[in-house]
Amino acid sequence: MSSLSSSPVDISDIVALEGVTKRFPGIVANDSIGLSIRPGEVHVLLGENGAGKSTLIGMLSGLQQPDEGRILVDGKPTPITSPRHALALGIGTVFQHMMLVPTLTVAENLLLGGPWWQRPRTEELEARVAEITRSLGITVKLHARVSELSLGEQQQVEILRAMVRNSRLLILDESTSMLTPKGIDELGALMRRLVEQGLAIVFITHKLREAAAFGDRISVLKLGRKVGEIPPERFRALGEQEIISEIVELMFGKQKDDPEAVERSAHAVDAQAAPLLKVTDLTVAPTDNAPGLSSISFDIRPGEILGIAGIDGNGQKQLAEALAGQRVATGGSVRLEGAAIETLSVGERRQRGLRYLTDDRLGEGTVGTFPVSINFFLKQVGAAPFWRGGVEQRAEIDKRAAELVREYDVRTPSLKTPVARLSGGNIQKVLLARELAEGAKVVIFNKPTYGLDLANTLASRQRIRDTAARGLAVLLISTDLEELLSMCDRIAVIANGALVGTVDNADDARTRVGRLMIGLAA
């Protein structure tokens, strides 16, 4: 480490990414991303869930390989083939979820991964740890069991582990998500001392304040693309509030020559019409890994698109699932055309005309190994005319499926193709066809364009507009503010499981929604 100069001039990138693209079935997780990671800098990667941060570190730490582009280590193109290789290159990663063995002591954890034919060199380790901890000003109890340590202490152990292995680049993945505010401040101070020693740090977070407080350089990711970077010179020139507002602009603001930008054609919603969907005081209890909902109320009239904006993970999925009947609501009422449906099952709600287009297309929306044709009717199993007396009518199913394939332009080699083999855009078309089929009155779209390419994004949006134009009520949940602004009549903002405000989609909606999203009053 000492060989690296810590002065900001005359430094070159330890690791650089050039045009790195990574695709997963159905989505583009990283789209031509370029990053430069330098010693002596905390490089903040900022973005919401699903922005592609985890995929990016997966590639840096050797868990995944890029499909396109290259990674340069010390200026040389180097494929990082495995986590072991990444460590050998000096890239240490502290993952979001603790990766220590809780029943072993700290020392034993630090010694894991050494050559199996040697006795662990405990004395050597102790000397090394003492040296590192002294310079960083932290104390680590080497002989305590990991399960006895606090989460903050465990994290220090993980950082220490990376240091013991001579890491030059330390990647911290959502490291603050499980820490107390005090722990977060300590981590910030520790990061500062580490970079002063010439280390490079990549700090991944979705919290704006942490980014502004701890970073030297910020790269903002949005839906797999890098939408902006604030270099250190600029960083130092701006105050914390200015940085935050600049980040907000990058994350939510309108981009120049954005091909997705379509002016919203104003259409009149009859303000006098009775609401098709009326939700009053809907409450859901929080679970271990999901926030609850508190007292959600809104209504949607025929032909209206109500948007739900907010940072991902603030209860959007819970709201959609509670409305669809997949998640138990602890209180409140849901009325469809005036009739209470909150006690009905998923199937009964669907039959009344409530449709839910899930954001998890392969996880719950479809059965990947089943043919395209069956996936169209997954929610109608047993219903005539596709089943008679419980017996499958294959001819009827294939006939209707072929119609839907044509009508919704699903590109599939055949009706028998397993749906998971289709691209994300085509899977989404299967879901759209299924949910918008006859009898729909209220449609909930959860992140309908997430992970789609441009053409499919635009096509999906047009479908949603057409849906509303037919007089249906639409609830559009999205983390893409641009999308909401281009489509909705009104936008409600969700934060921590509660609606913090509703804004009419007028000229100043962008700023008002943006402010609500980061917790400021509109």
Binding site: G347, F370, K416
Partner: protein, 363 residues
């Protein structure tokens, strides 16, 4: 990244006939070649213990397949195995690993053995046997209720619970034979014996039980229900993607309980068909462990009913032939199991290699 083929699905479906044929040929190759390889490997083991593998395989084939008595025994043995396989197909296709087949089988067998001799004295024979079948099925279903409820409402892993229940079930069946249903007329602990003339009729002039036809019917019905009906599709959705099942509004807990009931009920019927068709009574400590033996056959058949008939036949040949070959050549009886497991492992390896090959060709 999209598969940009024209949406003219009809034109494309026409070419899929040839593709299906190629697929079937591929499947056959992927099954037969590994089985032959497994026979060679098992032969090497036989050589190593000083037995002539050709003589062993020759005995197996002769006693299990080619001698008139052997083939009749083989076909008779198939009856309970087919019922068990049918039950496993339902469970496995629905993604539930009912490994409690042996307990359910034995409880079905014991209740059938206890009820049939008593019922034939008061009812017409056919009705008595029918009632015995029914009782055996219901008892096995009830036995599956604990794992079913735990899985449906608490998410408790059914592999563990069904295995534990199978230990309890085999012990309970023993206790019932020794204490409750013991035939006072004999000195050995066993249930009353169903008179031969009251058992399931034999087919034609052979010793083959007509239970074979019941077993074939059961597995074919199960196959058709699983592939052609709404109920079967619901179970397959639960098996393939439980979250999609919830999303589609299926009553997953109810379906789970139904799966366990059907699977266990068929295992109970397997016990009943073996007793009412062949054995006539249950002796204490009798446990043929068919349930575990059938599991590999069902896997090899990829949970396809028709393929399962073939593999159950193979299993029967191996076990009937293996028993006499073992006696003649001094190979332990368990060598049949060794042979079957080698077949399974080689098949799995072939599958893996095939998958890797396809992956690399696609890349």
């Amino acid at each position: 990244m999209s598969i940009d083929t024209a949406p003219a699905a009809t034109a494309l479906d026409a070419t899929s006939g040839a593709a299906t044929r190629r697929d079937i040929l591929h499947r056959l190759l992927m099954t037969i070649v590994p089985i032959l390889a497994a026979l060679v490997i098992a032969g090497c083991i036989l050589l190593a213990v000083g037995v002539d593998p050709l003589a062993y395989y020759g005995y197996v084939l002769e006693k299990g397949l080619f001698s008139p008595l052997g083939i009749q025994q083989t076909l008779t043995r198939m009856a309970p195995l087919l019922f068990l396989a049918a039950g496993l197909i339902v469970a496995f296709r629905a993604g539930m690993w009912n490994l409690g087949g042996d307990g359910q089988f034995l409880l079905g067998a014991v209740t059938a053995a206890a009820s049939a001799p008593a019922l034939v004295e008061i009812l017409p024979a056919w009705l008595a046997l029918f009632c015995s079948f029914l009782i055996a099925m219901l008892v096995a279903m009830i036995w599956s209720l604990v794992p079913a409820l735990l899985r449906a409402y608490q998410g408790v892993n059914e592999i563990i619970t069904t295995l534990m229940m199978t230990f309890l079930g085999t012990s309970l069946a023993n206790v019932l034979v020794k204490l409750v249903f013991r035939d006072p007329g004999t000195t050995v602990p066993q249930t009353r014996t169903l008179p031969v003339e009251d058992r399931l009729p034999r087919l034609f002039e052979t010793t083959i039980t007509s239970g074979l036809l019941l077993g074939l019917a059961a597995i074919i019905i199960v196959h058709l229900v699983m592939t052609r009906t709404a109920f079967g599709l619901k179970l397959r959705i639960v098996g393939a993607n439980p979250r999609a099942a919830v999303h589609a509004g299926l009553g997953v807990p109810g379906l789970t309980i139904a799966v366990f009931a059907i699977s266990a009920g068929l295992a109970g019927l397997a016990g009943a068909v073996d007793i009412i068709g062949v054995q006539g009574n249950v002796r204490a400590d009798w446990n043929p462990a068919y349930g575990l033996a059938v599991i590999p056959a069902v896997f090899l058949a990829r949970m396809n009913g028709f393929a399962a008939i073939g593999f159950v036949f193979l299993l029967s040949v191996l076990s009937i032939g293996g028993e006499s070959a073992a006696r003649r050549l001094g190979v332990p009886n368990h060598f049949t199991l060794v042979l079957v497991s080698i077949v399974l492992i080689v098949l799995a390896l072939a599958e893996y290699v095939d998958h890797r090959y396809h992956q690399s060709r696609k890349a």
